[in-house]
């Protein structure tokens, strides 16, 4: 099994699609860093001056009129019908601060989780695609039949292929995520704010990265199973696209309550350690009124983790069962 896995890994790495996929990942990584670099650019001297001017104008306005406005507002407040809003909320005219004008600096601890999370998407996509083609091509070319005349133990063959796809993507994902993490840090360190990067922040970021490595490996294994089941790369991609559009898009929009049972939200909950989603909740009041609210809900990390684990196990077992029984032509 270990020997077979090594052979499969060698084959995975020798494939052209793998090379193309890796080049694509490399390109996306570079683009992401370039985009971060542009986003983190501080304002030019002229823009900075303009922001300063605006601040000064606003401050001057505040100094001159705040007192007057407040008095006026308090008078208005007295005439408000009950229940009245709080006076402090209604009539606070706070002093403008320079930081409210111009562009706030990029803060590493704030942008990094989203960047890692976004990277986990394209890593998972690439892994799925390459995994699907890794097995799909074997079936569509018929090479699997020849392979089985050398190693007829199907479950070993199956296990070695999935293991190769999954483990092959561990270093790939780790390197991509590390490059994005360190690259972004270096950029923001120059252009923005990294001072708030405490040990805990690093710990959280590494945890997100680590979980993104796990999802990438899972995506590679799942892609392989789907490639095996459908025997064609193109068919596997078609199925995923159809799922994304129909289930995650259309279905989730019409049946918001189903979101916790769709892959994407669980994926998010796992990678980000809890994820938020929204459902519309409508109530009819005792007075006959009917009102709908947009309510935020949280899907827990544990839910996401269990969901992904069970989903993967079920799909892998299904693939194994099918491959074990399948007639190979």
């Amino acid at each position: 099994m270990i020997r077979l896995t090594k052979v499969e890994l060698r084959r995975l790495m020798a494939r052209r699609l793998t090379a193309v996929g890796l080049a694509g990942l490399f390109l996306i990584t570079i683009l992401l860093l370039v985009a971060t670099w542009f986003d983190s650019q501080p304002l030019s001297a002229a823009e900075e001056r303009q922001a300063q001017q605006q601040y000064e104008m606003a401050h001057k306005d505040w100094v001159e009129h705040a007192e007057e406005m407040r008095t006026q507002c308090e008078a208005d407040w007295k005439t408000q019908p009950n229940p009245k809003p709080k006076l402090e909320e209604m009539c606070s005219y706070s002093e403008p601060k320079p930081g409210d004008f111009g562009k706030p600096p990029t803060v590493f601890a704030q942008i990094m989780p989203d960047l890692l999370h976004g990277s986990s998407y394209f890593l998972a996509f690439a892994a799925f695609l390459i995994g699907a083609s890794f097995l799909g091509a074997e079936f569509s070319s018929g090479a699997i039949g020849n392979w089985l005349t050398f190693e007829p133990r199907r479950l070993r063959v199956y296990g070695s292929k999935l293991l190769a796809a999954a483990t092959g993507f561990v270093p790939i994902a780790a390197v991509v995520l590390a490059v994005i993490l360190i690259g972004t840090f270096l950029i923001v360190d120059r252009l923005g704010d990294t001072a708030s990067t405490t040990g805990k922040v690093w710990g959280d970021l590494s945890a997100i990265g680590g979980r993104a490595v796990v999802t990438t490996a899972l995506a590679a294994a799942l892609g392989s199973v789907v490639g095996l089941l459908l025997r064609h790369t193109a068919a596997a991609i078609g199925v995923v696209m159809a799922y994304l559009v129909l289930a995650e898009g259309v279905f989730a929009a019409f049946l918001e309550k189903a979101q916790p049972w769709l892959v994407k939200l669980n994926f998010d909950a796992f990678v980000r350690h809890d994820a938020q989603y929204y459902v519309t909740e409508c109530k009819s009041g005792s007075d006959g009124s009917y009102a709908c609210d947009y309510v935020q809900k949280t899907l827990s990390f544990e839910h996401g983790a269990w969901y992904l684990a069970i989903f993967t196990v079920v799909v892998v077992l299904l693939g194994g069962w099918v491959f074990h029984r399948r007639d190979v032509n």
Binding site: R3, L4, K6, V7, R10, R11, A14, R15, R16, A137, E138, S141, G142, A143, G145, N146, W147, L148, T149, F150, E151, P152, R153, R325, D327, V328, N329
Partner: protein, 306 residues
């Protein structure tokens, strides 16, 4: 080594087509392939040869029946004997984007064969330098040779070739035939399936003929062709009438065939010449007419509605 390389009993396979229709590909096949030498596995297209071979190799599940290879029940104990079996089922299939060499290296590594073996088998099948080309770019003959090279990675005792000459040019056909002959002479068992009778006749020591997934006949080529009866001889002689009279009187059956007479039932062709010469009729040509596999085959399959 047991003296039977392959045996099947009551082997059966029904495919379900996409529309749900059932196709009986093999129905109760009893096949026995003796150890050593070349065994022809003959049958028209669609008679179930490939399906039978796939079942032996564990690629397709049999619905019923038992199979053994070198005395081991398969597919249950296939992992123990698979190292002794080299098989090419239908056309050779490898990873098209990899070179021949890379394909062999992966296979060698999978079975734990030393990597040096790859170069060796490429040389032995005269692929040599072409091993560095992509499999996709190979001619059919080269693909076939690569597939043979792959089987040689295992040093097999049993080689299974499924219609190996399909689509090859005459030189390629001869090459394959010589390879099979040579392997048979080295004491290996070669099972070669074909729908072309002439081809098998030239290399096979023993044959099995199947039709509609059933065994129709099997034995040595001579047994199957001769069917035990005395051979027919074709005779050229001046006076057909007199010759017919003389030979019929001697208990032989005579039919006219153009300028020749076909004589059946002569214990020995020399009998024919001797009896005619006694009556001053001189034979200008005499040749035994061998019933070839073609006619045997047609005869056997006639009742099968093929």
């Amino acid at each position: 080594m047991s003296d039977v390389a392959i045996s099947t009993r009551g082997l059966r396979k029904t495919y379900r087509t996409r529309r749900g229709r059932k196709v009986v590909a093999v129905q109760g096949l009893d096949l026995e392939v003796p150890s050593g030498g070349v065994h022809g596995f003959l049958g028209p297209n669609g008679s179930g040869k490939t399906t039978s071979i796939r079942m032996l190799l564990g690629l397709v599940r049999a619905d019923a029946g038992t199979m053994t290879v070198f005395g081991r029940p398969v597919p249950a104990q296939l992992p123990e004997v698979v190292g002794r079996i080299g098989a090419i089922v239908e056309s050779p299939k490898f990873f098209p984007a990899f070179t021949g060499q890379k394909n062999l290296e992966l296979l060698a590594e999978a079975i734990g064969a030393p990597r040096a073996r790859v170069g060796e088998v490429l040389e032995r099948t005269s692929l040599g330098e072409r091993g560095k080309d992509r499999f996709r770019a190979y001619s059919l003959g080269m693909k076939q040779r690569l597939a043979i090279a792959a089987t040689l990675l295992k040093e097999p005792d049993l080689l299974i070739f499924d219609e190996p000459t399909n689509g090859l040019d005459p030189a390629g056909i001869r090459e394959i035939r010589e390879t099979m002959r040579a392997l048979g002479e080295q004491g290996k068992t070669v099972l070669v399936s074909s729908h072309i009778l002439a081809e098998v006749e030239q290399v096979a020591d023993t044959v099995s003929i199947i039709g509609h997934g059933r065994l129709l006949a099997s034995g040595t080529v001579a047994e199957v062709i001769g069917g035990g009866t005395a051979p027919t001889v074709k005779v050229a002689v001046n006076n057909h009438e007199a010759a017919t009279r003389i030979l019929t009187a001697a208990g032989m059956t005579v039919r006219a065939d153009g300028n020749y007479l076909l004589v059946e039932g002569a214990p020995d062709p020399a009998d024919v010449t001797r009896r005619l010469a006694h009556q001053e009729l001189y034979v200008s040509e005499l040749a035994p007419v061998r019933a070839d596999l073609e006619s045997v085959f047609l005869e056997l399959t006639e009742g099968e509605g093929l």
